[in-house]
Amino acid sequence: MIKFLLKGLIRDRHRSLFPILSISIGVTLTVLMQAWVTGILGDMIDFNARFTTGHTKVITRAYSENMQQMASDLAIVGVDELTDDLEKEFPNMNWINRIRFGGLIDIPDESGITKSQGPVVGWGINILTDNGSDIERMNLQKAMRAGKIPTKSGEILMSDELAEKLNVKVGDDATFLGSTMFGSMAMQNFVIVGIVHFGTTALDKGAIIIDFKDAQEVLNMENATSEILGYLPSGKYNNELASEIANDFNSKYSNSEDEFSPKMLTLSEQNDLKSMLEYMDSIIGIIIFVFIFAMSIVLWNIGLIGGLRRYGEIGLRLAIGESKGAVYRKMIYESVLIGLFGSLFGTIIGLGFSYLLQTKGLDLSSMMQNTSMMIQSVYRAKITPLTFYIGFIPGLFSTIIGTALAGIGIYKRQTAQLFRELEN
């Protein structure tokens, strides 16, 4: 009997091929969407963590009020002591210093007269300091478009768009003009040794990158920094863990009366990333919900049409002495089979596309010209354990639910009623 029914299932494309195709398409889309959303948002979060927010970040309360200002007069003083404390309290975390500052860059010609000039955002990162830990963190090697990474004090990198605007090349001199931590004039000559491109508009438009120690010197920030970034040992952001650490730190070190006391923020408390994180969770929830809902309805209809097409068969099976329950049960078994195949194909195809998007990525930089948000311009999918079953399970269940719904009509009807319909 089972063999007989399987034969029918395979031969009747309305019952096998078409449902399997529609389930596969739905599952593929779900898998792809999940991997895509996870990839993009995950990259975005990782990118933010590496470049600006850390997994946690220590700043002064005053600095936190208006971080965009990058005001060096609101810096943390006594960094060495604070870093020691942090390392003692949270020994597994990775703590690094960073100074971000604003100012002007001035390019002189041979005679020393200004050739071009423009506003810049300065990044004082660990290139020579701390064994050059930011070289890897900020992926400097990959960002290099020309020249080399600074190897000694006084050497800087410049973003490619700015270099083009100012008409400078590797080896040119540049003068930085700004204000020190104490509000006096800061002025320093540098040599541009490299041109960089990060693929993020915020950094590529107008940035200079200098060693952290150089930044401290220029801005007169002895034993001071604007930010201390903390990274979790896993290298991946975990909101609960980060919040725990931040709460712990703030209860011990932060003082709401003192605006220069330090304060620890988690990644999600910066750059509106909280909404991004929530968005990621909810969007995945929505995908699953919409999928199950839509697919159940589609499959219900396929089931209904299939059921109508099969009135003859069902009536006959009742007539030859199969009970209604047995007929209904076998319909469900068939749907399990169809659901399994459809979900399996869909998951495999979805994973295939996701893998392509994970390795190749999609470059949308031309569409992102004007954004100053900290986002990457190459979009990649990310396959996670969830990717393997996010489509599979709903695919299977919606098939079964769809068939069950369609079958109830048959089950509930009087046998005789089925026969009447069969005659027409």
Partner: protein, 225 residues
């Protein structure tokens, strides 16, 4: 005494209709003996299908008693009714009701799959049934490739293959031309004589009537002769 295999006493069948009830069959008293070739004759809407369905345990009487092969139809559970049909009753439908994705052979084999029968016995039974109906050369065809007359012969073979006690045929010739109608009736009549299978038809086809050994006239749900 003749061997009665269907006995109906004071049977009434009502269907709910709006707020009231519609009486499809009323005060039916009948007895059908083993080996009869009987027709229930009446115009459309007279209750023929309803009567056959109740006798075949696909439906239940509202009042009175229907005993088929010793079982009281109104008292059977779903499973027991299914079992009764499975073992002892063959159905033939006006619209043949063959399964389009299966071959002639498979269509005829289908009822045997529910009966726990060995593969070799099954094969013999199917080939025998196909031979009785002259379908041996159509074994591999699909119903879509057959004429109406051939389709109904397959349906008869399917009803006969398990050698049931009773075959219930609901207007089996309604969709056939005269030649095919005569043909199929001759075959069924022959099977009735050779295998002593009881046949019960419903019909309003004049051509059928000449083959019947007994007629039951039905009008507006009542037996009138």
């Amino acid at each position: 005494m003749a061997n009665s295999i269907i006995t109906i006493t004071n049977m009434k069948k009502q269907y709910p209709e709006g707020k009231g009830k519609f009486t499809a069959l009323d005060d039916i008293n009948l007895s059908i003996n083993s080996g009869e070739f009987t027709g229930i004759v009446g115009p459309s809407g007279s209750g023929k299908t309803t009567l056959l369905n109740i006798i075949g345990s696909l439906d239940v009487p509202t009042e009175g008693e229907v005993i088929t092969l010793g079982e009281s139809i109104g008292k059977l559970t779903h499973r027991k009714a299914a079992k009764l049909r499975n073992k002892n009753i063959g159905f033939i439908f006006q619209t043949y009701n063959l399964l389009p994705v299966y071959s002639v052979y498979e269509n005829v084999e289908f009822p045997l799959l529910l009966l726990k029968m060995s593969a070799s016995k099954r094969k013999k039974a199917v080939l025998d049934a196909l031979e009785w109906l002259g379908l041996t050369d159509k074994i591999k065809s699909r119903p879509g490739q057959l004429s109406g007359g051939e389709c109904q012969r397959v349906a008869v073979a399917r009803a006969m293959v398990k050698l049931p006690e009773i075959v219930l045929a609901d207007e089996p010739t309604a969709n056939l031309d005269a030649e095919n109608a005569h043909n199929i009736l001759k075959m069924m009549s022959k099977l009735n004589k050779e295998l002593n299978t009881t046949f019960l038809f419903s019909t309003h086809d004049e051509k059928v009537i000449q083959y019947l050994t007994r007629q039951i006239l039905l009008k507006d749900g009542k037996v009138v002769g």
